[in-house]
């Protein structure tokens, strides 16, 4: 079943900026999709359409076949959990535990809600942040706490706007691990935006490339990340191992460290023989 369909969506901001022009996008249930594009390409605008924070000027967004409108916003927002780029907009309660428990307390009996919040925090490994004040957390901790608060609502689709932006590599790895674990555990449909081509092969099954509000590519991860002219057109970096392979004139293009090390160890063995 199609979890998300974005059908010819145009979005014009009140000041006249046309941020999306006829964007089309389809995401199957259980799929993991990366929305890839440089700054200002319309990623945030697209993501804010997925839970009805913004409504299209033209075209339609459908979630599990139902068009998003003002009338079904409650259902849409329960189905599509969005983690905003700025965690300060998401962590609105005075302590981390209060924040994670906020959603469950609104929809289930108190005892169950508190247990739920505890177990999500345990699952994300942030139990020790329980009584901390969001303002004083590090970027990575804020991001994890914000994810916990959204996942505690048990959405079927999890959407994240630039989940790893501004994080050091350790915090970034932790977010990536957490997201793949959550996806596995809850069978989530995952959609995230980024301009970091390195994290795409670690999380996504599919890539959508945005440029100036238009979808210029939709398809496999390998297809996007090895297409030099596509990446250049979208002002994106090549993944480092692809670039290395290209410099060396190799036909095979490894996307991740794992693929690269297996390729090079095979090459080294051939040379030795």
């Amino acid at each position: 079943m199609k979890a998300v369909e974005v059908d010819c969506v145009e979005h014009v901001y009140p000041d006249g900026t046309r941020a999306l022009c006829g964007a089309r996008l389809e995401v199957e249930e259980g799929e993991s999709v990366a929305i890839l594009g440089p700054n200002g390409s319309g990623k945030t605008t697209l993501i804010l359409h997925l839970n009805g924070t913004l409504l299209p000027s033209e075209g339609a967004v459908r979630i599990f076949g139902k068009p998003v409108s003002k009338k079904n916003l409650d259902w849409v927002r329960r189905t599509v959990g969005v983690v905003f780029q700025n965690p300060d907009e998401q962590l609105f309660m005075p302590t981390v535990f209060e924040d994670v428990a906020f959603g469950p307390l609104n929809i289930m009996p108190r005892d169950k809600a508190l247990r739920e919040a505890e177990s999500i925090m345990e699952e994300l490994g942030i139990t020790e942040l329980r009584d901390r004040i969001p303002h004083f957390l590090s970027g990575g901790q804020k991001r994890l706490a914000a994810i916990a608060g959204v996942v505690a609502m048990k959405p079927r689709i999890l959407v994240l706007d630039e989940p790893t932006i501004g994080l050091d590599s350790k915090a970034r790895d932790r977010i990536i691990q957490t997201l793949s674990r959550l996806k596995e555990h809850y069978g989530l449909t995952l959609i995230f935006s980024t301009f970091d081509v390195e994290i795409v092969p670690l999380l996504a099954d599919k890539v959508v490339v945005l440029k100036d509000g238009c979808v210029i590519y939709q398809g496999g991860v390998r297809g996007a990340l090895t297409d030099t002219s596509l990446l250049r057109e979208a002002c994106l970096d090549q993944p480092p191992y692809v670039r290395l392979a290209e410099e060396l004139g190799l036909k095979e293009k490894p996307l991740t460290l794992k693929e690269a090390s297996s390729l090079f160890s095979r090459l080294i063995q051939t040379i030795r023989r």
Partner: protein
């Protein structure tokens, strides 16, 4: 005039920071652990309020002098930062002092004026004691039993976002100062602009926050998780508070 040069030299928020407890500081100290911190919010509220009432009621010099000592003692037990409390006291002390300087002019005895000053500062200390040992959420929970929900919810959100606003203002003023020190008049218009753009920013943020809240089931009432247990310790503490209050009042009426 050291404060005037301060204003000229930096219009610095750090001065305001030093004279008023900022929310991050308050939250930081209110979540620390000590015997006093672990008491139920109702107990701490009862203690601060009844001690303020008693302070106001007392009139014998000896007994009144006992009250600031009491609050300082409890602050030590609660391991509060006495030096910061001292600098935060400057503001209420200045207010009280302005008032008390006028009192002898309208016929009050000097001693009475001094007593009113001491009482005012002591009352402020009892409020600091409460604020610095009780997280906002706990106070808000009690408040939400009495106040309408929109007001209680606003207080909770304010406790989260006030210091973000404060930080942003500080960063913008710092950035401004780092690029030269314009004359005071221009500086004031710049500060006004900073404030305006911060309000616009806060408005945009408020919209997002509202979406985040409503997608997590908000229907006009903020639920609070923080579980607080009323324990034997609280019963004993409240009894002791009442006993102390009665003793002081008794001493005032019959012994002095």
């Amino acid at each position: 005039m050291w404060w005037l040069s301060k204003v000229r030299g930096g219009l610095s928020l750090s001065l305001i920071e030093r004279l008023l407890p900022s929310t991050p500081m308050v939250e930081y100290f209110s979540t620390r652990k000590s015997f006093y911190h672990r008491l139920h919010t109702a107990s701490k509220l009862a203690f601060s309020l009844s001690m303020i009432l008693v302070t106001v009621y007392l009139s014998s010099v000896l007994l009144v002098a006992l009250m600031p000592l009491t609050v300082l003692l409890v602050m030590v037990v609660a391991r509060l930062p006495l030096r910061s409390v001292a600098s935060w006291s400057i503001t209420p002390a200045l207010f009280a002092a302005t008032l008390c300087i006028l009192l002898p002019l309208v016929g009050y005895l000097l001693l009475d004026a001094v007593m009113i000053f001491v009482k005012a500062v002591t009352a402020a200390w009892f409020m600091f004691l409460l604020a610095l040992t009780t997280p906002m959420t706990h106070l808000a929970r009690i408040a939400s039993k009495v106040l309408p929900s929109w007001l209680a919810d606003t207080l909770i959100l304010a406790s989260r976002y006030f210091f973000l606003f404060f930080d942003e203002a500080q960063r913008m003023v710092r950035a401004m100062n780092a690029r030269g020190s314009p004359p005071l008049r221009r500086r004031l218009t710049l500060v006004a602009n900073v404030m305006a753009s911060l309000f616009v920013k806060s408005y945009e943020r408020a919209e997002r926050v509202y979406v985040a809240m409503s997608s997590r089931g908000y229907r006009g009432r903020m639920p609070l998780a923080s579980p607080e247990q009323f324990s034997l310790r609280d019963a004993i503490f409240i009894t002791a508070t009442l006993a102390l209050s009665f003793t002081l009042v008794y001493a005032e009426v019959f012994l002095v």
